[in-house]
């Protein structure tokens, strides 16, 4: 398998050095031209990624995914004709790069696999990350499968992460060269097969976002000045609680303290996340005068339990549905773990027990919610990910 990433960086401080060139090819020989499908959101990163892939000599085709069924967007104007700015921006970028461009309608798959899952997870009292889900089920599943069937070799995105290839052809996913921009967390769900067909041309960028914008401008891409997107793409107004309320309806329930005493009421347990402090509206302070945080959500009883910040300290967790990038850890070992898209990493001891990932933290961590993904790293290398099912709190019982 020839390396897909044409922008392999020179490894520094990495467990395994990347192959300097594809196996069987002389040093410095041009890599095989790949047929690449570039997913283009209409933003600056995916546009520059597609441009870099084309410049590297690959045969690139751009595709914009129509994912939303919401009334203000793509599919609605009488018949889904280029009504949304993002698809227009993506098309403009593709035209400037000089590559063919298509819009693929994956809205139904997206609704089933990402939006409905998101709602169901919140309904069950968990906190999902729909971006990981989208990478796992849409970009590197529905899109990748269609791309491969149509004769493409790889799917290219604007994620900041690095793919390296060992001399034996094994591929590894690593953090981006610039840790501040690293997005390997949301790609932690990719398995070997998905990674084999992934291309991240921005992963080796040791430049700032401003420099990516400058590169876009230099390439004549009009999206250079477009603001970054942060919100969940299918909740356009950013109001997640409002979105869930429309989907799940109001369901009044009790807010309890750790002893089970009722402190107040809420309008739907799904509106809360473990670790949340704001929006509890309890009206009167805790006896000790300290702020209270959401500790637990019980969807069946429809209760939310709150308590002091110390009670949030988690010393260990159990995570299910692991997905490994390469071999799973064979024996208990020391790794680092990341628990949120923009969170830091923390030292852990990890092992696989009966198909589940068990993690013990070297230092207690806070704000760990069931439903979140834990991504396990060995140095910069992504080992795999799993969905947090349960946490152990050392101080909860004592507090």
């Amino acid at each position: 398998m020839t390396a897909v990433n044409s922008h392999q960086r020179e490894a520094a401080g990495r467990a395994a050095a990347p192959a300097p060139s594809a196996p069987g090819e002389p040093e410095g020989a041009p890599r095989r031209t790949l047929r690449v499908l570039a997913a283009m959101s209409g933003g600056v990163d995916s546009a520059v990624a597609a441009a870099r892939a084309a410049e590297a000599g690959h045969d690139v085709t751009g595709v914009h995914l129509a994912l939303s069924e919401n009334p203000k967007s793509f599919r609605t104007g009488a018949r889904g004709c280029c009504t949304v700015e993002d698809s227009h921006d993506a098309r403009r970028a593709a035209d400037v790069i000089g590559i063919p461009f298509y819009v693929w309608d994956l809205a139904e798959r997206f609704r089933e696999d990402v939006v409905e899952d998101f709602v169901a997870e919140y309904e069950a009292g968990r906190t999902p990350n729909p971006c990981l889900r989208c990478n796992e089920k849409i970009k590197f599943a529905a899109l990748l499968d269609k791309a491969l069937a149509l004769g493409f070799d790889a799917v290219c995105t604007g994620h900041y992460a690095t793919v390296t290839e060992l001399p034996d052809g094994t591929r590894e996913l690593h953090r981006a060269s610039d840790a501040a921009k690293d997005q390997s967390y949301v790609l932690g769900v990719l398995d070997d097969r998905q990674l084999a067909h992934a291309m991240f041309p921005l992963g080796d960028t040791l430049t700032t976002k401003e420099e990516i914008r400058a590169e876009a401008e230099r390439r004549g891409l009009a999206v250079a000045e477009k603001p970054d997107s942060h919100d969940i793409c299918f909740i356009a107004d950013g109001d997640t609680r409002g979105f869930l309320e429309r989907r799940l309806g109001r369901a009044e329930g009790a807010i309890l303290d750790e002893s089970g005493e009722q402190l107040g009421t809420h309008e739907g347990a799904y509106g809360f996340t473990v670790g949340q402090r704001k929006g509890l509206r309890l009206g009167h302070p805790a006896p000790d005068g300290k702020p209270r945080y959401v500790l637990d959500i019980s969807p069946v009883e429809n209760t939310v339990t709150v308590g002091p910040v110390e009670a949030l300290d988690v010393t260990a967790l159990r995570a299910i549905r692991p997905r490994w990038c390469g071999a799973p850890p064979a024996a208990p070992g020391t790794y680092t773990a990341q628990l949120r898209a923009h969170g830091g990493e923390t030292r852990v001891r990890a092992e696989v027990v009966e198909g589940e990932l068990r993690i013990e933290f070297a230092e207690p961590v806070r704000g760990v919610a069931p439903g979140q993904a834990v991504v396990l790293y060995d140095g910069t290398r992504v080992v795999g990910s799993a969905t947090i099912a349960a946490t152990d709190r050392s101080t909860a019982a004592a507090g």
Partner: protein, 392 residues
């Protein structure tokens, strides 16, 4: 890429060299046809000669030619303008009878009137080829004649190429005293189109489908009708359409129509032969491909071939052919943003699956045997691959 085979002439076709000469020569000449001085008079003469040339080629009187910016504007003017003027004259006339297989310029105008102007719509039945029959129009007018504002049925379908019996339909509408409009954008230059003989009240044509420039079209309109204008202003076109006339485009439009109509018979013969070769090639490479529209050449545009490929997504086929230098369309250009089943095929009773995996190959005056040969080589493997990608 060595050879590009262009099979999208129904979207737009290369300009006729003589139309290019007319167009470029006029670009260098100053003059607003509404001005009274010498420059204005020269421009006016050019425009009026073009109008006469158009009228003569289309079987109309010069005063029946209302110049517009193209087919979409002419359709909007006919549908909305006639609806408003008929309703203003008689309040009860709020029913529009139209084919469900119309181009979106008609379809969406009708639906807009329904949503915003109190129109009620009777969608006329169509057969499995998307054709509207005189007896169905008669039945509909027998029921709705007293409230009918207008009838609109396209001369030939832009997707599947089915030709409607326009003179027959117009005769039925005339019996009930209801004006009938027809979008003849695709028919012009391929089948005989004569405004006076058709009995239509209004008829849409446009330049860029017959070798003229973009942005020039016309609504042929009997003198008896005064549709309410969409564009108010200088009243340049019979007080029905305002806006400074685009003299170069109008002149080149007339040149192109003159040539297209003059060469029509010979062209239709040649392009029919090429189209039939294409259909045979596709069918032998993909035995289960379904030819949509009327298989009888008498009922179909000579330059149109339209297929459903079972188990394939139209946009997969398009992508794979495009990458091999073969340019075609999944349907009309306006549906090409996102894959959606063709409303024409659905109206004609096709299944949503078959209506999704479609390709339209439309030939034109620059099409060659080499184009068809390139498609014949590519279509088998392309369909096989698209099928493996399946329906998403």
């Amino acid at each position: 890429m060595a050879h590009i085979a262009y099979f999208d002439h129904a979207a737009t076709t290369p300009m006729h060299p003589e139309a290019v000469r007319t167009f470029t020569a006029q670009l260098a000449v100053v003059g607003n046809p509404s001005s009274l001085h010498g420059a204005g008079r020269r421009a006016r003469r050019t425009v009026e000669e073009a109008r006469e040339q158009l009228a003569s080629a289309l079987g109309a009187r010069p005063s029946e030619v209302v110049l517009t910016s193209g087919g979409t504007e002419a359709d909007n003017l006919a549908i909305k303008g006639l609806y408003w003027s008929r309703r203003d004259a008689e309040q009860r006339r709020t029913t529009i009878l139209a084919s469900p297989a119309e181009h979106h310029a008609v379809l969406d105008s009708v639906e807009w009137l329904e949503a915003h102007e109190g129109a009620s719509v009777v969608w006329l039945p169509v057969d499995a080829y998307g054709r509207t029959h005189a007896e169905d129009l008669r039945a509909a007018l027998t029921e709705h004649g007293e409230s009918a504002a207008l009838v609109s049925v396209m001369w030939a379908n832009n997707e599947i190429g089915t030709v409607n019996p326009i003179p027959e339909l117009a005769a039925v509408a005339a019996e009930f005293g209801v004006p009938m409009h027809s979008d003849a954008v695709q028919a012009l230059g391929q089948v005989p189109v004569d405004f006076a003989e058709s009995g239509l009240a209004a008829m849409t044509v446009t330049g860029h489908k017959v070798g003229g420039p973009y942005g020039a079209g016309a609504l042929l309109l009997q003198r008896a009708y005064a549709p309410v204008p969409l564009l108010h202003g200088g009243g340049q076109e019979r007080q029905v359409r305002s806006g400074t006339l685009d003299t170069p485009a109008v002149a080149a439009f007339a040149t192109a129509v003159h040539h297209a109509v003059g060469r029509r018979e010979e062209y239709a013969r040649e392009v029919t032969e090429l189209r039939d070769t294409l259909v045979d090639a596709v069918r032998s490479a993909v035995p289960d491909a379904v030819l949509n529209g009327d298989p009888d050449p008498a009922g179909r545009l000579p330059a149109n071939a339209h297929f459903s490929f079972p188990g394939c997504e139209g946009d997969s086929l398009l992508l794979l052919l495009d990458s091999r230098g073969i340019e075609c369309s999944t349907g009309s250009a306006c549906t090409a943003g996102v894959a959606q089943p063709s409303h024409v095929l659905l109206a004609a009773g096709s299944t949503p699956e078959l209506a999704r995996g479609t390709l339209r190959f439309s030939l034109g005056h620059t099409s060659t045997k080499a184009d068809v040969a390139a498609l014949a080589d590519a279509i088998g493997p392309v369909v096989e691959r698209a099928r493996s990608a399946g329906l998403s």
